[in-house]
């Protein structure tokens, strides 16, 4: 199993989620993050204080999937989160050794996704 971890634009979230749902990938977690990549900096001014904001608001998506779903998840995120402008983000695929469903104690593949990917 893998944890597909993507940093994406805030305004793309709904598109990405909807795309994932369509592919039958329903388990995911989102968090607010701030990132620095190739994007330009913003300058802000508060009275005499001028600051350069090095970080822009992004979202982090964590999607735990069984191995056969990895590619699908990556592709789905990639296509739905892309705008083509700098700042679209990255996807990291992280290995996972074990997965448990807290409610039932089920392990591994049972705990993450439906059995067959829907294309």
């Amino acid at each position: 199993m893998k944890l597909v971890t993507a940093f994406i634009r805030k305004e793309k979230l709904i598109d990405v989620i909807s795309a994932l749902f369509e592919k039958n990938i329903h388990g995911l977690t989102v968090s607010n993050v701030k990132g620095h990549g190739g994007e330009g900096e913003k300058v802000e001014t508060y009275r005499g204080t001028r600051v350069k904001k090095e970080l822009s608001e992004k979202l982090k998506l964590e999607i735990g999937v069984s191995d056969e779903f990895v590619d699908l998840a990556v592709k789905t995120v990639m296509s739905s989160a892309r705008t083509g402008n700098v700042g679209d983000g990255k996807i990291f695929v992280i290995p996972v050794e074990k997965v448990y469903r807290i409610r039932t104690g089920e392990e591994d593949n049972q705990a993450v996704t439906p059995l067959t990917p829907k294309n």
């Binding site: 305004e11 701030k34 620095h36 913003k42 802000e44 001014t45 001028r50 904001k53 970080l55």
Partner: protein, 461 residues
């Protein structure tokens, strides 16, 4: 080309200020001599006291409006939205001093229409001048009415938040506060057009507008609608959920607006008298009735009484009672509150899913509420409660005609002013800035900042 554009953009505001300055200095030289001429009449302390307070209250409404609107937008546009109210405090006060008050209350240059220069640059308003019978210092009348001009201009912003360019907005309200507001204020209160009876127009009665249903609410709401059309809808409108980022601010704003409105309506009695007391009571009961009605509709339809709905109901009730606050009985006020809520509720429900991006429902609340309230004033006005007439079909028609003229004028003048504005500034922010949010884009600030990842730039850089 780009340079020229940039010059105009950056240069327009200072030029305007420079112009102000010149005007004022001239005026102050001239004015100094003439000020003492006005005939002193006695000032009524009690009435003056109440109008002093009312003025402060109406100014407070502008703050309330900033929060009412500011809470309803997305986080990234919170400051921009609030600034649209706050900047009106600066700009409109000044335009009101230069010419607005004169247009609204000077003796008319153009019959029925006004455009007087009598009080240009506050000329002729001295310490001893009063409003006449009322025993209110004229300079206080200036401030009290100025507060109305400010809130009216600020109201417009609700329809165009999250996308209008701030400089265009500033330019727009500078002109609109004079040609859009002050002119219509003359028609309603200065002895102009809407005194149908006095001027024998259309065989109608004088249109009644106790505290500004037409000139403030319908006027602002129609202007808002026109601007919203000219700007087009927000990029995300109809695609994405755009939720209020801080509903408590909206409740706070509604609360402050209500309190301020006691000065708005109560002060319009121009004295601390029974009419003020009546206006006060009606200003309590109509929104209360609107709350009850709105909550009931909410509950009936979705099983849930919403906070945003309640805040909206307060505004609708306040708007509805404004034109008739001091001329109808309290039971009538309750009825006005109940009745007006219904069309506003369903209009706002419908609006959200329509293509019309009157973002914060200025028209649904102030426009429709103002129209229904004005018409109902024609029904419920009562001599028993201090009105000049009793409700009648004729009065209803007078109200209707006034409403229609107000709508028509507001459409035209707003379109004209916005078109002029467009010559100097694009009305709309670049689309990509809508994603970033106008706070950063237009003001270089964030409403809520934790300073993370912010690096201090040494001066000189």
């Amino acid at each position: 080309m780009n340079l020229l554009k940039r010059f105009i953009e950056k240069g327009a505001a200072p030029l305007i200020v420079a112009a102000y300055l010149c005007v004022f200095f001239l005026v102050s030289l001239v004015g100094a001599q003439e000020e003492t001429e006005a005939v002193a009449s006695t000032i009524n302390g009690a009435d003056t006291g109440w109008i002093l307070v009312s003025t402060a209250f109406v100014i407070f409404m502008v703050v309330g409006l900033g929060f009412f609107y500011g809470g309803l937008v997305r986080r990234k546009n919170a400051l921009n939205t609030m600034m649209m109210s706050f900047i009106a405090l600066g700009i409109v006060s000044i335009t009101w001093a230069v010419i607005g008050y004169s247009f609204a209350y000077g003796s008319p240059n153009v019959n029925l229409i006004g455009l007087s220069f009598e009080f240009f640059g506050m000329n002729g308003i001295g310490l001893d001048s009063t409003t006449g019978d009322d025993g209110i210092p004229k300079i206080l009348d200036f401030a009290f009415q100025g507060a109305f001009a400010i809130i009216t201009a600020a109201l417009i912003s609700g329809a165009i938040v999250e996308r209008m360019r701030f400089s265009a907005y500033m330019f727009f309200i500078t002109i609109w506060s004079v040609l859009g507001y002050a002119v219509m204020a003359f028609w309603v209160w200065g002895g102009g057009l809407f005194d149908f009876g006095e001027h024998n127009l259309f065989g109608l009665n004088d249109a009644i507008d106790f505290a500004g249903g037409t000139v403030v609410h319908i006027n602002a709401a129609v202007a808002a609608l026109v601007l919203a059309f000219m700007l087009g809808k927000r990029k995300d409108h109809g695609n994405k959920a755009m939720l209020p980022h801080q509903v408590p601010f909206t409740l706070l704003g509604a609360g402050i607006l209500w309190v301020g409105w006691f000065g708005f309506n109560g002060g319009s009695a121009y004295g601390a008298n029974a009419t003020a007391a009546l206006a006060m009571t009606n200003t309590l009961l109509a929104p209360a009735a609107a709350i009850v009605a709105w909550a009931t509709l909410d509950y009936f339809r979705t099983g849930k009484v919403t906070a945003v709905g309640l805040a909206t109901a307060i505004i609708v009730g306040l708007v509805a009672i404004t034109p008739g606050a001091g001329v109808m009985g309290p039971i009538a006020a309750i009825v006005v509150g109940l009745i007006t809520t219904v069309p506003c509720y369903f209009f706002i429900e419908w609006r959200a899913s329509s293509g019309l991006d009157d973002s914060l429902d200025v028209f649904g609340a102030h426009g429709l509420g103002g129209i229904v309230g004005s018409l109902l004033t024609g029904v419920f006005v009562s001599t028993t409660w201090g009105g000049d007439v009793d409700g009648s079909m004729k009065q209803f028609m007078s109200q209707l005609v006034a409403v229609l003229i107000a709508i028509g004028y507001s459409v035209v003048i707003t379109f004209v002013i916005a078109s002029i504005t467009r010559v100097f500034f694009p009305l709309r922010a670049q689309e990509s800035l809508e994603d970033v949010g106008l706070d950063v884009a237009m003001h270089g600030e964030e409403a809520y900042s934790d300073g993370e990842g912010a690096i201090l730039i040494p001066i000189g850089d």
